[in-house]
Subunit: 159 residues, 2 copies
């Protein structure tokens, strides 16, 4: 469940490559394509969106390519995915346009909302810099035990 589209995945990986050239070296689509094994045409679509969103800027002509529009520690994974896949909205009710007729009677509404916020908060915390530095690996290792109870509910009355 909860699959991330390839667009989002490729987008983050592309941003990673672009970040590696920052601030001096523009990275071409072709280079990204080769390093991350994604077609040029598909990358064009993805990078176009990211450029319009102001996350990267492009330099045309020979010697051109893409560079970050701000430093890597100022670009969160959330901001990348938001542009490519829209905001986290686990149900159609929670989409910006809304449109849920039964919010009041819907028991699960707040559940999905809370989960969405949890995810968004997580992704906001992590930046391209984290991804590059690999201070990320802590999550898979030492922090694992901690991660087993990341939720703050009122204490449950369970024996």
């Amino acid at each position: 469940m909860l699959r991330l589209s390839t667009k989002g995945q490729y987008g983050v990986r592309a941003m990673y490559e672009i970040a590696r050239g920052y601030p001096a070296t523009p990275v071409t689509i072709k280079e990204i394509s080769e390093r991350q094994d994604v077609s040029v045409a598909y990358l064009e679509q993805i990078l176009n969106k990211l450029r319009k969103a102001g996350l990267i800027k492009s330099i045309r002509g020979p010697g051109g390519g893409y560079i970050l529009n701000r430093s890597a520690d100022k670009i969160s994974i959330a901001s990348i995915l938001n542009e490519l896949e829209g905001p986290v909205a686990l149900t159609s009710c929670l989409e910006p346009e809304g449109g849920c007729v039964r919010i009041d009677s819907c028991v699960t509404h707040l559940l999905w909302k809370a989960l969405g916020e949890q995810v968004e908060a997580f992704l906001k915390t992590i930046t391209l810099k984290n991804l590059m530095a690999g201070d990320f690996y802590a999550l898979g290792g030492t922090a694992k035990k901690e991660m087993r109870r990341p939720v703050r509910l009122k204490p449950q009355s369970q024996p």
Copy 2:
């Protein structure tokens, strides 16, 4: 991004209705259908899976219906969604069968893995009982501020 399928959504809502009858009153598909506004035929598919998974059991014949197989505080949202949508796997790499060729070189692999674990942990914490009791609303209200930093990364060196 990250849409939950209707099967998962309806499944949780159906379980909620069944939980309301626990332990004395079997709840019929028709009742669930009316209360949650989901077609009987579709519910049949969903409840079938949940029954095979041992979350509920069915009682046939007149007066029959579905009842929980164990108490509501022993059934997590995660267990429901897992049966209906499979485990959280944000990328195909992370599916049980695996199949990722480039794990070593994939910078984002651990990121998606960590996020998936975060989500799963969240859903495991919340039970049908929480959903019914509404001690859930804390998440939308008071706990909101807390939820803005649910991630435990090593402190980032950001000024």
